[in-house]
Amino acid sequence: MTLVSLFFMFFKIGLFTFGGGYAMLPLISEEITRRGLLSAEELTNFVAVSESTPGPFAVNIATYVGLHTAGLAGSVCATLGVVLPSFIVILAVAHIYEKFRRSRVVAGIMSGLRPAVVGLLAAAAVGIAKTVFFQSGFVLSAALAASALIFALILYLSLKKVHPIKLIILSAGLGMAVMYTLSALGCA
């Protein structure tokens, strides 16, 4: 993958994602896994890294994928690519922001985009659930049950508003405890 195509891939991702945080995930996972830049499993791993480090997810994933595929120059190109669309659009809008804010066209488009983003994220979550619950290389039954339990516990705690970083540390600990136990028992 050349630096130019890395730049344009992330430019496209930056241009077509609305809303914060995980709104970017569907498009990113589509572009990145389709081109084989990261596996679905590597992408899920990276979401955890991104949650535990400062800054927007989009910038983190762009830097990482760029680095992974084309070294430091790649990470610069990918990051610039993901940032530029926001930058250009905001500069354009900043002049006319009173008008933009009251625009019926913008309100109408957003009324369609908001629900769409929810549907897209749900589809991305299903994709990630497949890689979490059906990982190759592990004995299915025991590891599957362990994954399901960790998932349920972390979801419960996150709905109780426990901080994401604590939850990632906890799930890392649980993962190690489970997998060392399973391998000691000879079933992993």
Binding site: Y22, G55, F87, G119, A122
Partner: protein, 198 residues
């Protein structure tokens, strides 16, 4: 201090201390850019958020560009945006190299086995809160509507399901789905305005 340097440093700090990005930054921007530096007024904040949400790209970048522009024009926006991006960039460039080197070690593999299940939970959590924040009527109220009102009230739910199904089963690209839903949203919004104005 030079205002451009000040913008860069302030947004570098904001970028370095917001984990999870996006909305986590809003209170910090409010405190630093509005209360302490006076680059924007407190009452600008809701507008800035609304615009950041309805323009493409991460909210953090959008806010930084906007505040930078308000404070010192185009060069100000460049300084603020660079500032907010740089901490993530540096940390990930460092961590990414470490991750690629050590990911095949057994303890790391085992830890990520648990982490992936945890991340899925965080994504489901984000999905739930995005669903809640999406403007719509309650499902029980929707079922009481009739005719055109029923169509308008049911639309957000219909768009969610359509977007999900088109990507999941018809394997359409996200961009095509977004464009389609934006078009439907625009048409029905203008139609509903026409109805209320009549």
């Amino acid at each position: 201090m030079n205002i451009r340097l000040d913008l860069f440093i302030t947004f570098f700090k904001i970028g370095a201390f917001t984990f999870g990005g996006g909305y986590a930054m809003v209170p910090l921007i409010q405190e630093e850019a509005a209360a302490r530096k006076g680059w924007i007024s407190e009452s600008d904040m809701p507008d800035i958020l609304a615009i950041s949400e309805s323009t493409p790209g991460p909210i953090a970048i959008n806010c930084a560009t906007f505040v930078g522009y308000k404070a010192a024009g185009v060069t100000g926006s460049i300084c603020a945006t660079l500032g907010v991006v740089l901490p993530s960039f540096l940390i990930i460039a460092l961590l990414g190299a470490l991750l690629d080197r050590y990911r095949d070690l057994t303890p790391v593999k085992y830890a990520f086995f648990g982490i992936r299940a945890g991340v899925l939970a965080l994504i489901v959590r984000a999905l739930i809160s995005m669903y809640k924040k999406c403007p719509k009527q309650r499902l029980s109220d929707v079922l009481n509507c009739k005719g055109a009102a029923l169509f308008l009230a049911a639309l957000p739910y219909a768009l969610m399901c359509t977007a999900f199904a088109l990507v999941m089963f018809a394997h359409l690209s996200s961009i095509a789905v977004l464009a389609l839903c934006a078009g439907i949203g625009l048409l029905t919004y203008l139609y509903s305005l026409g109805r209320t104005e009549k």
